[in-house]
Subunit: 112 residues, 2 copies
Amino acid sequence: MVKLENRTALTLWQQVVLDQVTKGAHDLSMRQFAILFSVYLEPGPHTVRGLAQKLNVTKPVITRALDAMGQLDLLARKRDVDDRRNVLVQRTVAGALYVENYGDLISRKADR
Amino acid sequence: MVKLENRTALTLWQQVVLDQVTKGAHDLSMRQFAILFSVYLEPGPHTVRGLAQKLNVTKPVITRALDAMGQLDLLARKRDVDDRRNVLVQRTVAGALYVENYGDLISRKADR
DNA sequence: AATATTCGTTTCGTAGCCGTATTATTGCAC
DNA sequence: GTGCAATAATACGGCTACGAAACGAATATT
């Protein structure tokens, strides 16, 4: 479907990053983005340990990211009823909207 | 050239971010990325003030980013000989290589 | 039932970036 | 030359995130 030239790819990337920075909306770090997108683009269930392994980071990183993004209502925690040690990361309405808007932004920057 | 579907765009974005995070190479912040890409993708000369205006951030943000990325040898400072108040942000070999590799990464994730 | 293991969280000390305000240097107008 | 404007850098206090280690709760093992 897509054959992205090197230069085109970089320009697209720059446009999107620049858009986010100029509007002061760089609230999320790379790691937080990785977590958010993983939860919304891949089938669950998503646990703290699972995400930590997937991203190759320590567990406290996930815990703290969930704290931060939970406060923004982009993600939610839920105890696993079958194994109450586990925390299942849940999607939220606000989070789904955020991710979708991000997709729109990228698409929009892509056709020019 | 490119018509990127919403879902496709998001998946591409996730793949690239995930790649960077897992290899522990998320050294740069969003703002630093914006600076780096602006310098390498747009014609110069680039000054501290100019970049600050372009990114809609304060000047100390640029100064500090130049300190950080200068230490990584991704960018270099050079006094403007015509107006010695200005600092011209220069490209480096290591920086050019870094940006090019980033473009390769995006392109590679894009065709699948 | 006692012990070990797993899971997520918390604590601790450290490092980086932030915004505002201030400073040093350079150029310019008069 | 003297005052004034513009540029980049720095100082300061605050906030956030980090990795490593310790921890409490839940489950598994024996």
